[in-house]
């Protein structure tokens, strides 16, 4: 077993852990979006969807445990990697290398990730946590998500969601393709395929999520 410990202590091992958890989280986002789009189908459709999830509690709970572990592993190794990297360059340049050498979204993974994390805590507290106490068969989840104080009809809340989702898009703009480079499949043969799939994950999915606060907060 020591080899596995050695592996995840190595610089590349830590990145493999980040990349694996990051990709699995991206896959979760895709399924999460499919569910959320039911909001456009109206209160009845959305409530039925949440009730059907509540009816398979053990499966949902299992998924939640896995997701929590994924987030924890991703965040903890993210913090480690970031701190170690800061330590590796404790004196910075008078004129730091800038846009000629790196893209902004590649340089700001720790910042975009941290803001996504703050958003995540708020999001879980207001939606996931309040859902836990709603057991009755006619519980109106739609009302919480759309019409309550913390729902999308509040432009401040909608704006916060949009901002956080834009940062998530930036995070994935770098992160999705970066993960494949970390897995070692970054050579030119696969590059165009990875970049095409990446657009779906960094652009299409976040835009799908953003459409919800935009519609319920500002259009409707």
């Amino acid at each position: 077993m020591t080899w596995i410990f050695t592996f995840f202590q190595s610089s590349i091992g830590k990145k493999i852990l980040m990349a694996t958890t990051g990709i699995l989280l991206s896959l979760f986002l895709a399924t999460h979006l499919l569910g959320n789009l039911m909001l456009f189908g109206g209160a009845e459709m959305f409530n039925n969807y949440v009730h059907s999830l509540a009816n398979m509690k053990p499966v949902v709970r299992f998924a939640e445990v896995i997701l929590t572990l994924l987030f924890l592993a991703h965040i903890i190794s993210g913090i480690r990697v970031t701190l170690e990297n800061k330590r590796a360059k404790s004196i910075s340049y008078k004129i730091s290398p800038g846009p000629e050498t790196t893209k902004l979204h590649s340089r700001s993974m720790a910042i975009s990730g941290s803001i996504v994390f703050i958003f995540l805590v708020f999001h879980l507290q207001t939606f996931w946590y309040s859902f836990q106490n709603m057991h009755s068969a006619d519980a109106d989840f739609y009302d919480v998500v759309i019409n309550s104080k913390v729902g999308y009809n509040n432009p401040l809340i909608a704006g916060f969601y949009i901002l956080a989702l834009l940062l998530l898009a930036l995070h994935l703009r770098h992160g999705f393709q970066s993960a494949f480079q970390t897995f070692g499949v970054g050579d030119s043969r696969y590059k165009s395929l990875i970049e095409t799939v990446a657009v779906f994950f960094w652009l299409v999915i976040p835009l799908g999520f953003i459409s919800i606060p935009v519609y319920f907060g500002f259009i409707k």
């Binding site: 190595s10 610089s11 590349i12 990145k15 590796a88 008078k94 290398p97 480079q181 897995f183 970054g186």
Partner: protein, 245 residues
């Protein structure tokens, strides 16, 4: 041309350093950047001051000794060029050039612009070699190698170990250097015996030396004077995975 050089001055590894500005007059556009520095140093010597130390040897872009951060660009603003191959025509009359040593904790400053890159040497010692049979030299054509592999190995072998990749990387990661070195052996028949141990040992030594973790920003590829591709980093990851499992 008139140039102002704002150089990092530090008299020893432990002393505190500072930036000092020096005007340099009568600079010709055809001078190399180092000839301009030589001119500045001659001025300093004539004034009885310490010349600015900077590393250089071949001055033809092949030894990897030189390496200076100029206005935030490793080896200056040109692509695929070492500091010694840079000419003053790349700069404007009246420009201020901020010249700094490579900044990375694994490359401590020895004096002024000179850094200690022996961490790279220790990474090489840990695996950058091949076993050969003693005896007569084998016929060069006796071992067939795919053209594509030869090309990729040769592209990787162009790395001169200058450290610009580490210098420009916000994480001081040495993955481009190690990726190039691992690749040049992994793709050739001569490198097969130590293939797995080599990548494990070199990555372990790279970590011990305190280089940061690669976050794939690809700044290294932009600044590498030999234009080593980050595909070599992907190959390093792949080789490391294969050797670990």
């Amino acid at each position: 041309m008139k140039i102002t050089v704002q150089a990092w001055r530090q008299s020893s590894p432990t002393s505190a350093g500072e930036f000092v500005s020096y005007p340099v007059d009568n600079v010709s556009e055809d001078m190399s950047f180092f000839e301009m520095m030589d001119k500045l140093n001659n001025n300093l010597i004539r004034q009885g001051k310490d010349p600015i130390s900077f590393d250089h040897d071949c001055r033809e872009g092949i030894c990897g000794t030189c390496g200076i951060m100029i206005n935030g660009r490793a080896h200056g603003p040109l692509k695929g060029v070492t500091s010694c191959q840079l000419h003053m025509r790349s700069f404007k009359d009246g420009e201020t050039l901020v010249v700094e040593p490579w900044r990375a904790n694994s490359f401590p400053v020895i004096r002024d612009l000179v850094v200690d890159r022996s961490s790279f040497d220790r990474v090489m010692e840990s695996g950058g070699y091949v076993s050969v049979n003693t005896g007569g030299v084998p016929d060069a054509n006796a071992t067939p190698i795919l053209k594509n592999d030869v090309d990729l190995a040769f592209d990787a072998a162009a790395c001169i170990g200058c450290g610009a990749c580490v210098a420009t990387c916000k994480n001081s990661s040495a993955m481009l250097f190690v990726g190039a070195k691992v690749t040049q052996y992994a793709l050739l028949p001569q490198g097969q015996v130590e293939r797995k141990n080599r990548v494990s040992n070199m990555v372990a030594q790279m970590d011990i030396e305190g280089f940061g973790n690669c976050t794939n920003t690809s700044a290294c590829e932009v600044e590498c004077p030999k234009e080593i591709s980050v595909e070599n980093i992907a190959r390093l990851n792949r080789e490391f995975l294969k050797a670990s499992f």
